[in-house]
Amino acid sequence: MITFENLSFSYGNTGEEQLNSLDLQIKKGEFVLLCGRSACGKTTATKCINGLIPHFTEGKYSGSVVVKGKEIAKTPVYEISEDVGSVFQNPKTQFFNLDSDSELVFGMENLGIEPNKINARVQEVAHDLMIENLLGRSVFGLSGGEKQILALASIYAVNPDIYVLDEPTANIDKDGIDRLHEILLKLKQMGKTIVISEHRLYFLMDLVDKAVYIEHGAIQKVYTGDEFRALADSERIRLGLRCFKLDNEKDEVPTKCNSGILEIDNLSVSYKNRTIFSNASFAAARGDIIAVTGRNGSGKSAFLRVLCGLMKEKAGRIVFDGKPYPYKKRRELCYMTMQDVVHQLFSDSVWEEFSLLNKTVDEQEITKILRRLDLLDYKDKHPMTLSGGQKQRLALAVATLANKDIMIFDEPTSGLDYGNMIKVCELIKELSSNRIVFVATHDRELMGLLCTRRMEISNESISVYDLTTK
């Protein structure tokens, strides 16, 4: 179905080879997992199948990829798209249309299918994938999970034989992941060929027929599904792969936690006239690492924005060290690292980024943190030239030196492999020794490794649990 033959590719003129003589055979109906560390070339490999490489992204291309008998490099992308459907990592930027119905018909209209057949097919898709609740919605009103399901459904509408997914779960909650698993299972049973590049592995272990481990752009090993599932934990960690099953989850005990330096006193939060929660009270002490959880769209970011003084609370008080902190004053107390770190980099060089902190920081301290996060060689570079992972580490470095009493991290590990996740965990743990840390995340592996408490926002209220190792 898909054959890579001695394929090499490098982006632009950097010369660094992103893919190095790839040879791979994928048979019809196989479910193939591409795995490996961050930036190992998984995403690049998916783009070689859907034709974005070499047609959209330019670079040095040699060798060949043949999909259903057509050589990708010689076939225009629109022709490939009839056989290969793609789901991308970022749910925000993969929709062309702003309403779900348009998105579902978009691919079929591009193919020139007759209108009455299109409308019948939409009903069929909605029924098959049980997404009736997604019809007639604005894309901006959908949660991250719903967006990924809609993206998959829009491809299903065109009915290609091959599905290529690039980290589809990077930003979605447990329910979203469960729904995605259901649909992938269905596609597999229909005999579709599926190629997925992912860091989170636990949800697709039962589906995998073949796992391809990629390192520095080359295939290190191809496992059968059973071989892969039988890998020992130590071997998995050596390969830098995230957990195969969620077994590090901790016991949860509901807790009142009514004493601590930070007191949340009868806090009510609402966003755009919708109540997120009301009258919540709890306290936190230095050293606490609190996971902020809740489904996509439950209001986690609204709570975080209130906490760090970007939005006004509806009622209640936030008290630190005996002093109440009104809304804008809380910015002196808290610092938040956002999920999309590009919004937080303002300067034209890595080094300059630190001059924008509220206070002056010692040059030695900057050097120290940059060295620790492998950024020292890049200190005069423009943030534009950094890779995604480097930008994320720079944002972490800035947060560390901001040196506030309350630190907030919004999904700090999305898209990270095991090794990098552990690095981020260590840094956050170190920071937490004399601070209070909040981590908003859907990543249950991270929660198990890092957090001491979990607060959940659901049904307009907050519940807090102590996490203890089983």
């Binding site: 959209f56 992308v77 348009s102 590009v342 937080q344 303002f346």
Partner: protein
């Protein structure tokens, strides 16, 4: 399927584009204030009928405010302020109908229908696709601007000039990735397929479309022939 019906009146995208052209050329060539007021009032009624209430209200308030400044405030101003402020007020007033209609177009027309409309007029794909991506980028831009503004508050960036200085890097960073990812996603969905596209919604002119297109053409004739 895929129409965004809000108010009691639904217009064909082509009508809206034609009206946008007609009204703007008219407003820029016309120098009678009363005629402009009539056009603007009609426009606001049209927006209300199409169910775009918020934008209608905003436009009405802004327009009245601009008129009030011109006729009640400026006559009492010293000469220096008068000349400079006069230009600003008039420019904004002339641009307002354009903004109002553009809002109507964007809020009530799915982007793919806009593309279909332009295709029926046989515009080349090389014009339509970049145009569609540009229109699609605006709502994302608003989200990004919000995030950047948050980030600035956390970093203690204050004042208009400092904000303007620092918005440049994050906006450039996110705009380049967003535009890239968007174009990749739609390329992979076969947008540049040369086969004639079909449209799942029947795009037909109704009475309201004929009436409004007639209005647009009349305005154009007035603009070019009579003025």
């Amino acid at each position: 399927m895929g129409t965004m019906k809000k108010g009691i009146l639904v217009l064909d995208p082509r009508t809206k584009i034609l009206l946008l052209l007609g009204i703007n050329i008219y407003v820029f060539t016309n120098s009678y204030v009363w005629a402009e007021i009539i056009v603007m009032a009609a426009l606001i009624i049209l927006l209300l009928l199409c169910g775009v209430y918020k934008a209608a209200l905003k436009s009405a308030v802004t327009y009245i405010a601009l008129l009030a400044i011109k006729y009640f405030l400026l006559p009492f101003c010293p000469e220096i302020i008068l000349t400079s402020l006069n230009i600003v007020v008039i420019t904004f007033r002339k641009l307002l109908p354009c903004v109002t209609l553009a809002t109507l177009l964007v809020q009530t027309t799915p982007i793919r229908l806009l593309m279909h409309a332009l295709q029926r007029w046989h515009l080349p794909q090389t014009v339509i696709i970049p145009l569609a991506i540009t229109v699609r980028y605006f709502p994302t831009l608003r989200e990004e601007q919000q995030a950047i503004s948050d980030a600035m508050k956390l970093r203690n960036v204050h004042g208009v000039f400092q904000k303007l200085e620092y918005i440049y890097v994050p906006l450039m960073l996110s705009a380049s990735t967003t535009a890239d990812e968007l174009s990749q996603a739609i390329t992979a969905r076969g947008i540049d397929n040369p086969r004639p596209k079909t449209c799942a919604v029947s795009m037909r002119f109704h009475i309201q479309d004929y009436v409004l297109c007639f209005v647009a053409i009349v305005l154009l004739i007035i603009a070019f022939v009579l003025l």
